[in-house]
């Protein structure tokens, strides 16, 4: 067996020119999504840590000032994590932030400061998006009619979910794919008409939406006394949470509502979890052909270039697999910012999957559902949501 530490000692010459990013991109593009090789991940994670230590001056100071300082971890889980809150105050980038090709902002209430995630390039982000999405959400076809009830890059240039949705539209959407969500409003009547037309033509559709917008959509259907049956093989992906600030909707209730309104079997109801501070996504999917299959609902699978630990909220020390704690995410696709992120989300973590237990309820409201909520709030009755996840 390869000894990762000895291998690493050969590679780690701390050369200023050493760059692990090509290896990481290759890993993202080629790895078997069901294979979670600990040694390879550990090796790449430590390489990336050193790269980030060398090139991200804020992170380097952060690690040096930690108590005790951590500049030479031996395992990936020893790599210091920055809190999501840090993104609101400091630029965490391995390059001059002004050279960023994209800056994604966290959403929040007006009183809250927005976090910023700087990207030198979007290859890693988009490679991560495409590999996971194809495997978990579209394993059975190349293209599909995509209908978006969530942000797209054209209207929301600083939304990471917007960039993801636009990437998906470009790569996996048929020519008729379109969005029904603008900074001004949610175009539900147009959406209903498009879905009805697709139904007439028996053309499967893929609805990609924030949970909040889906709730609005279902409210509207209910108000009209209508259902909107989708053609066979259609599917719905939601993201951004659905826990109400004024009314809570459980995941099970939400899925039942979706199933009833759109007459879609449960296996075609997907959920995505990510956040602005990350570059990769986790999926809940029971679609045949997905690389990993859950034995119960609520399980979200990560790609092999990601690891998640649950940590004790009191001490931030890692907990054994399966114990509930605050999620700490290690995302190799975060090549030019910081790989290790301490989130406010609660959950259980295993090697290849997590189960969310909600956002720590005192945490700030944030995420894409909040963004959509703020827009839908204009002039419409609002059912507020607290996102469990955000992109």
């Amino acid at each position: 067996m390869l000894n990762s530490d000895s291998k690493f000692s050969i590679l780690d010459h701390r050369s200023s020119t050493f760059d692990p990013r090509p290896s990481i991109l290759d890993f993202i593009l080629t790895v078997d999504l069901a294979a979670f090789e600990e040694e390879r991940f550990n090796h790449l994670a430590l390489q990336l840590f050193r790269y980030q230590l060398q090139n991200n001056p804020v992170y380097r100071k952060f690690c040096e000032q930690a108590s005790p300082p951590v500049t030479n971890p031996r395992k990936w889980h020893e790599i210091p994590a920055v809190t999501t809150s840090a993104f609101k105050y400091v630029p965490l980038a391995c390059f001059p932030p002004e050279q960023a090709v994209a800056v994604f902002h966290t959403s929040g209430t007006t009183a809250q400061r927005a976090g910023k995630h700087y990207f030198r390039a979007l290859e890693f982000y988009r490679a991560a998006i495409m590999r996971s999405f194809r495997a978990y959400a579209l394993p059975d076809r190349e293209k599909i009619l995509m209908l978006f009830l969530g942000p797209t890059a054209e209207h929301f240039p600083h939304s990471s979910l917007g960039d993801m949705f636009s990437t998906l539209q470009r790569e996996c959407g048929t020519i008729e794919s379109t969005t029904f969500f603008t900074p001004e409003k949610l175009l539900l009547s147009d959406f209903f008409e498009t879905v009805a037309n697709a139904g007439d033509e028996k053309k499967p559709v893929f609805i990609l939406a924030t949970a909040f917008n889906l709730l609005q959509c279902m409210d509207e259907l209910q108000a009209r006394g209508q259902r909107l049956p989708l053609p066979t093989s259609s599917r719905i992906l939601d993201t951004g949470g659905y826990k109400g600030r004024t009314r809570e909707v459980s995941r099970a209730e939400f899925q039942n509502m979706l199933g009833e309104c759109f007459e879609v079997p449960k296996k075609f109801l997907l959920n995505e979890y990510s956040m602005t501070e990350l570059s990769s996504q986790l999926y809940e999917s029971q679609l045949p052909g997905a690389p990993l299959q859950g034995d119960r609902p609520g399980i979200k699978f990560m790609p092999p270039w990601m690891r998640v630990l649950a940590v004790d909220p009191e001490t931030l020390q890692p907990l054994p697999a399966g114990e509930i704690g605050l999620l700490r995410i290690f995302d190799l696709a975060n090549v030019d910012s910081v790989m290790a992120i301490q989130t406010e989300d609660l959950g259980r973590a295993w090697q290849d999957r997590i189960e969310l237990a909600g956002r720590a309820s005192g945490a700030e409201l944030r995420g894409c559902s909040l963004l959509t909520e703020a827009i839908v709030h204009e002039g419409e009755s609002v059912r507020k949501v607290t996102p469990l996840s955000s992109s």
Binding site: Q65, T83, T84, Y89, E344, L346, A360, G362
Partner: protein, 466 residues
């Protein structure tokens, strides 16, 4: 939920008792419900009570205030006596079911028993016969011959917040001394304390307690709230700004909001003694640093950053000691996460070279940050202390002006001239009404009359226009 009737020898299970009470009211068209405390074991809400029932109930409860009218002297004498005795019982936690109340509070608030005992005892330490009598005398004198006098309202509706148990107590005592019927809607998160206090009061004087009523119902039961508001009570609400905005829409000018405020401290680095730091630490740990009378920031006047850093070292040591004496609560995961994220912000800012020093134990029980910053708003509570470097007292004054509508109280250890300037400058600001200036260690037990400095509260309790 429990109900206590005038002649009830013991508490009775609430739902049945409440139904009896309602039925009795319907039959007799009048009743003497003294109050309906929340239960100690299993809180129920009033979702099952119809708006019509509540309206009838409140019609019977609403009545002309006593104020300084007929029978006032006797009422005030009895009220002072009853509250003084009840306050002594609570100050020492010597009343029936004290341990049970404490256990329930610990469960609801997640604060430790020593902190709860001490923090709540502080509420009562200022409720003395002398303080209450002096307050009533002052109002009597102010009202004498004043043409701006106005009648006291026949009903006050006090909406209490859940984060600080008993935060509405002083409001309640003052309303009671004036014989203004007051309905307290306790927060669902902490529905026990006020009813338990009213039980103690009723044991002293049931007639005095008869003008106070404590109920709970969920925010969603809008009909119940509307039924009470239809009686046009004076609405006194404690809570966050969102709650105040929502209530403002419902109540308009009747609302007397006690919204989001915070307290601060001002000290000189070179004169601060260890005793001062202990007193400040005491202010910080009471109620785990939550609530408007808890300091959220210490403005440290110092010529050099090094002095602030050294003070932070001492303060961290002192806070660690006080933490042993007054243990931190069993905070929720959400609250711990909030603290960790907050610490993460400072760690990141320190990494970009900001002047920041951070002290923390291995757990989340306390945190001390020293920083060069002028933002007083980044508040977390939960024993998170910020020592902010101010180069001069003038700088302190400039910073304070930005928060004139937000600061509730200031604990100060400054020079006499500075004190005079502070008082004068703040006096010029409209929002000074409601602000308290005191010594470190005194923030959590202000004098009984301090709320009279709030314009709206003054007008209500003095029955006068300012």
């Amino acid at each position: 939920m429990l109900i206590v009737l005038k002649d009830a020898p013991s508490m009775t299970c609430y739902p049945e008792a409440f139904s009896l009470q309602i039925n009795s009211m319907r039959e007799k068209e009048s009743l003497h419900p003294y109050f309906i405390p929340a239960p100690l074991e299993t809180p129920h809400d009033l979702q099952q009570v119809s708006a019509a029932d509540l309206t009838g109930f409140m019609h019977a409860f609403r009545r002309p205030a006593i104020g300084y009218g007929k029978g006032a002297k006797e009422w005030q004498r009895r009220a002072i006596k009853a509250w003084h005795a009840a306050a002594r019982a609570w100050e020492n936690w010597q009343f029936p079911q004290a341990e049970k109340v404490l256990a329930q509070l610990e469960k609801n608030t997640r604060m430790s028993p020593p902190v709860l005992r001490e923090s709540i005892a502080n509420h009562f330490r200022v409720i003395t016969a002398g303080e209450m009598g002096a307050w009533l005398d002052e109002i009597r004198e102010a009202r004498a011959g004043d043409p701006g006098r106005k009648p006291y309202p026949p009903l006050a509706f006090v909406i209490a917040s859940g984060n600080i148990p008993g935060a509405a107590l002083q409001h309640l005592v003052q309303l009671s001394l004036l014989g203004i019927p007051a309905l307290v809607k306790s927060a669902s998160a902490e529905p026990h304390l006020i009813p338990a206090i009213l039980v103690t009061l009723a044991q002293q004087d049931a007639e005095i307690a008869s003008r106070l009523l404590a109920l709970i119902w969920p925010r969603e039961n809008k009909e119940a709230t509307a039924a009470v508001l239809a009686l046009q009570p004076k609405v006194i609400a404690l809570g966050d700004d969102d709650t105040m905005q929502r209530l403002q829409a419902q109540t308009g000018r009747a609302l007397m909001p006690f919204g989001d405020r915070f307290s601060a401290a001002i000290i000189h680095a070179h004169t601060a003694k260890v005793q001062t730091l202990h007193k400040l630490a005491y202010d910080y740990v009471m109620f785990d640093g939550k609530g408007c009378l808890s300091p959220q920031v210490v403005m440290v006047i110092a010529g050099h950053w090094r002095e602030v850093e050294q003070l932070a070292v001492h303060f961290a040591g002192v806070l660690a000691e006080e933490n042993q004496k007054w243990p931190a609560g069993n905070w929720s995961i959400a609250e711990k996460s909030l603290i960790q994220q907050w610490r993460g912000e400072w760690q990141a800012r320190r990494a970009v070279g900001e002047k920041i020093t951070l002290f923390q134990p291995e757990d989340t029980s306390w945190t001390v940050v020293a920083a060069e910053e002028f933002d007083l708003e980044q508040r977390v509570a939960f024993r998170t202390v910020r020592l902010l470097w101010m180069k001069s007292f003038d700088e302190v004054m400039l910073v304070l002006k930005n928060y004139s509508t937000k600061i509730q109280a200031l604990a100060v250890e400054i020079q006499d001239l500075e004190y005079a300037q502070l008082a004068l400058d703040l006096d010029e600001q409209e929002e000074v009404l409601g602000r308290l200036i005191c010594a470190p260690g005194e923030l959590q037990r202000p004098i009984f009359a301090w709320m009279a400095a709030n314009r709206q509260w003054f007008e209500l309790t003095y029955g006068m226009r300012l």
